[in-house]
């Protein structure tokens, strides 16, 4: 039945379109021009629509900024995250300035110079000075952004360590994460996918003395204020360990180890007290109540951000940032590799 309905609607749509075309053609005939010829009236109409669109674009841009900036990520929870957000804010301001400058000019010109039969355009083929200006100005602005960006990048990727970072391995597989803490010696034992056997689910080398005190966990707990060096491995396909709240991300690639270091600066508990976060959580819980879902309290989370298969969209692990004492307590509760194997 719905098939027949669709067919009827389609036929009607085509008939309507045919009639419309006839109307367009007849009305042009009445004006003694061919339908395809662009009249002054067309230019006028389209010019005004261009101007209207230009206004609409800028207006809706600001509307979106106002409405949707709150849904973007709240303040960063890591030391370098602040630098990241500063760089982002400045770069964004530069491109937003360009956007709200150039777009209106484009649509304004389209309206202002809408054609008329009795007008003639100005023959103006080039102007070296103008072209020089708009080569050099972007070049200078970009030079500043490039240098600022490179400095930030270099600081993030080559952190200077005043204290030894805590080493944690993040192990990816379809479709879950596992963490391995380096234990007393803060050194991870050798591991390889080939060594996976029975209970040794992530292939730790049991003969490596550095590995006996490693602890395998299903959640990441981090002590606040201490640098953490993450080492990433993958068991099967490429995954990407994405820590949006910490402004951190690194791919997990089978056959090699990658790494990323950051220092968490805000505990989960503190973040839940943040006014912006509380407003966000309140909005989210309003939605969740309507849908009959359980209430949500703010949590840091690790996501997979590289397509990895059917459950890619639900590959996650909880991250808790807490005081040094709480962290130490949690860690002692975890079993070492020597104990489990």
């Amino acid at each position: 039945m719905s098939g027949i309905m669709t067919l009827i609607v389609l036929v009607l749509a085509v008939l309507t379109a045919l009639q419309l075309i006839r109307i367009f053609e007849l009305s042009s005939k009445a004006r003694q021009t061919a339908e395809y010829e662009v009249t002054d009236r067309d230019n006028n109409n389209q010019g005004w629509l261009m101007l209207l669109f230009g206004f609409g674009l800028i207006a809706s841009f600001f509307w979106m900024l106002n409405a949707w900036l709150p849904v973007t990520l709240p303040k960063p929870a890591s030391a370098h995250g602040t630098d990241y957000d500063n760089l982002m804010t400045i770069s964004m301001l530069v491109i937003i300035a360009m956007f709200v400058l150039v777009q209106p000019i484009l649509f304004y010109f389209a309206w202002k110079y809408r054609g008329a039969k009795d007008r003639k355009a100005t023959y103006y083929e080039h102007n070296n000075r103008l072209e020089f200006i708009w080569t050099i100005v972007p070049a200078v602005v970009l030079a500043v952004l490039i240098i600022y960006g490179m400095t930030t990048w270099s600081n993030v990727m080559n952190p200077k360590n005043e204290q030894e970072p805590l080493v944690i391995e993040v192990y990816a597989q379809q479709f879950k994460w596992t963490a391995r803490y380096a234990g007393q010696d803060n050194q991870l034992g050798y591991a390889n996918v080939r060594l996976i056997k029975d209970a040794n689910v992530i292939g730790v080398d049991t003969l490596d003395t550095k590995g006996g005190d490693d602890k395998i966990t299903t959640e990441i707990h981090l002590p606040v204020g201490r640098p953490v060096l993450f080492k990433f491995r993958s068991q099967d396909v490429i995954h990407s360990a994405y820590f949006p709240h910490f402004r951190a991300q690194m791919n997990c690639v089978p056959g090699m180890t990658t790494q990323f270091q950051f220092t968490p600066t805000v505990t989960t508990a503190e973040m839940r007290q943040d006014a912006e976060v509380q407003a966000k959580v309140a909005r989210i819980n309003k939605i969740r109540t309507e849908k009959g879902l359980e209430a949500y309290a703010y949590d840091y989370v690790l996501l997979c951000n590289k397509i990895c298969g059917s459950a890619h969209y639900n590959m996650q692990m909880n991250i808790v940032v807490e005081s040094e004492a709480e962290y130490a307590k949690w860690l002692t509760e975890q079993k070492t590799v020597a104990e489990t194997l």
Binding site: E25, E35, Y36, F109, G115, N158, V237, Q249, Q259, I284
Partner: protein, 600 residues
């Protein structure tokens, strides 16, 4: 003068011969195995449109899932069958749809459909050549493309589903059938299809390059070429230099999949099975893929920019502003496009120093891009703008090129890429700067050169309607994605309901889907207009837009060899619009310079 007459006579004789030779044109040689560049252009266009309908339709299906995850839509079961039991889309099918949508739009529509159509149509006509350097290779090029399209469409119907590892097909995911169903027979067909596609594209590109370099008519120096031809030439060079690298990447992937080699595979346990592969690197594939992948962006974009240059100048009734700067920026963009591929790989674990280098080269591209944008805008300044549908789409292109290009400054910065990599911010960026700009360029090209292709005019009012609905919904679809991206939402998620932090993005997703469906349906207006005008449109005059370029000196009726008499000689550049000293506001390239008249 005598020489001229002689030329004429000679050409006539030649043409008589031509006519005689082709009296045997039957249906097959005229419409199917044609070696005439104009017919081949139309073949590319119609095939590209057919693939485009599939690609856009797929995006509407997966947008339904994203706006209302887990809800039942009978239409999904109608089209996806067992992949949408009770109308709820299977996650594997979701990934397959985004993969094939990407592949089709990037390669089949915006590479073959755009470049294939307009390079073929315009290169001989605008440079003053009777046909491509090799008509036969041109035909082969189309048939490789047609075969690859057939294989791609067939791959949609295999038992285990089409390829679904993303259009970038990163191994090991794409190499291991155990990792996802789409990496089985679907992926094999994907690779076969792409191999055919690349072969066709290479043959076509070589032909374009040879034709532009060798077959320009008398007087058509490189600095008198319309910018369309410059764009097609540089595009073809990019294709010749980069597509072979993708071919080798694909072949090594075939070896890994079928012959037990380990180019991309090492230390893998998948679905409980320990593989023997050792020593390979998935990152190698990424390097090879993006060595094509980034120039590919410009293979898509440059022809659209070339078309826009032509359409904006013609319809502003002004010379394109800064002609030489435009050529320079095309060349600069093309050169830089080969040394920026690493910006797709900032967080793969490659040396951070390399990240800095790629940041530097990537952000440099903004300079020639800015020059192009400003030159387009200055071309409008003090123009006498005639808003044909083609002109509307060209102005739309400038708008999206600016809007999408600017966010490239964020993503090209390795430091900033860390947190927005692979999020919806990226989806917004490349759809606006590459997808929308290129498709707008393609629409502009179709509206502008339809009279040249089919000898009839498209309906203007429907063109207006099509443009405004498309333009508004295009921004409506992709602009909000910047915000979901900045909220940390990863791309290629079947649903974001598993993360409570994304709950408040659902309203935005619904808005996006509404615009996507509206914009998709609006394309029916174009398709209707296209086919209606092809048969029923008013007959086209020879030069409907009062344009300067050579294609409008050829007769409306298509003939082999393009011009019945001698090939016209060129005396000036293509942009003498509204030149002082002339009554008309255009001076065709065939008009000799007056005494004392300054060339541009």
């Amino acid at each position: 003068m005598a020489d001229h007459a002689h030329d004429h006579a000679h050409d006539h004789a030649h043409d008589d011969h031509h006519d005689h030779e082709h009296h045997v044109d039957n249906f097959w040689t005229k419409y199917v195995f044609s070696i005439d560049h104009k017919m081949i252009a139309k073949q590319f266009l119609v095939t590209g449109m057919f693939m485009g309908i599939i690609g856009v339709f797929m995006s509407m299906l997966f947008r339904l899932q994203l706006a209302w995850p887990g809800e039942s839509f009978p239409i999904l079961e109608t089209f996806l069958g067992k992949w949408a039991p009770d109308g709820v889309m299977d996650p594997n099918m979701y990934l397959a749809l985004v993969t094939i949508h990407g592949t089709i739009m990037v390669f089949f529509v915006l590479t073959a459909g755009l470049s294939g159509t307009f390079s073929n149509l315009l290169i001989p006509l605008q440079i003053g050549a009777r046909d491509m350097a090799s008509g036969f290779l041109n035909m082969i090029s189309y048939w490789f493309f047609a075969a690859s399209s057939v294989v791609m469409v067939v791959s949609l119907f295999v038992e285990t589903g089409p390829a679904s590892g993303g259009w970038t097909v990163y191994p090991p995911l794409s190499a291991l059938p155990q990792a996802m169903p789409g990496s089985g027979a679907g992926m094999t067909l994907w690779l076969v299809s792409m191999t055919l596609f690349i072969a066709g594209s290479l043959i076509g590109s070589l032909n374009y390059i040879v034709t532009v370099i060798n077959l320009r008519t008398k007087g058509m120096s490189m600095t008198r070429l319309p910018l369309t031809i410059w764009a097609f030439l540089v595009t073809a060079i990019l294709g010749v230099l980069s597509f072979p690298v993708l071919l080798s990447a694909a072949l090594l992937l075939v070896f890994d999949r079928s012959m037990g080699t380990s180019f991309y595979l090492s230390d893998i346990m998948v679905a409980g099975e320990m593989l023997t592969n050792q020593g390979g690197s998935p990152i190698l594939f990424e390097h090879l893929f993006w060595f094509l992948g980034h120039p590919e962006v410009y293979i898509i974009l440059l022809p659209a920019l070339g078309i826009t240059s032509e359409v904006i100048a013609t319809n502003s009734r002004k010379p394109i502003f800064g002609y030489r700067a435009m050529i320079g920026s095309i060349l600069a963009i093309a050169f830089l496009s080969f040394i920026v591929w690493g910006h797709h790989m900032f967080i793969t674990g490659m040396n951070p120093f390399l990240g800095s280098v790629f940041t530097f080269t990537t952000l440099l591209i903004a300079i020639p891009s800015a020059v192009k944008a400003f030159n387009y805008i200055t071309t409008l300044w003090k123009g006498n703008i005639r808003f044909t549908p083609a002109m509307l789409f060209s102005i739309g292109l400038v708008s999206t090129f600016v809007a999408g290009g600017l966010t490239g400054i964020i993503l090209g910065d390795s430091a900033l890429d860390i947190n927005v990599h692979d999020t919806y911010f990226v989806v917004a960026h490349f759809h606006i700067v590459m997808g929308l700009s290129a498709i707008f360029g393609m629409f502009a090209g179709v509206y502008h050169w339809f009279p040249k292709m089919y000898g009839r005019m498209m309906n203007k009012s429907m063109g207006y309607l099509h443009f405004w609905l498309t333009f508004v919904s295009a921004y409506g679809v992709f602009f909000p994605m910047h915000f979901t991206g900045l909220a940390g939402l990863p791309r290629r998620y079947y649903s974001n309901a598993e993360f409570p932090i994304f709950d408040e993005l659902q309203d935005i997703n619904v808005i996006i889907t509404m615009f996507a469906i509206g914009g998709g349906i609006a394309q029916l207006i174009f398709i209707f207009n296209f086919f209606y005008s092809m048969w029923r449109g008013p007959k086209a005059p020879q030069n409907p837009w009062n344009s300067n370029t050579l294609e409008w000196t050829a007769p409306v009726e298509h003939i082999h060899g393009n011009w019945p008499g001698a090939i016209p000689e060129v005396h000036r550049w293509a942009y003498d619009y509204s030149k002082p000293g002339y009554d008309e506001d255009f001076v065709p390239q065939t008009t000799p310079l007056k005494d004392g008249e300054h060339a541009h």
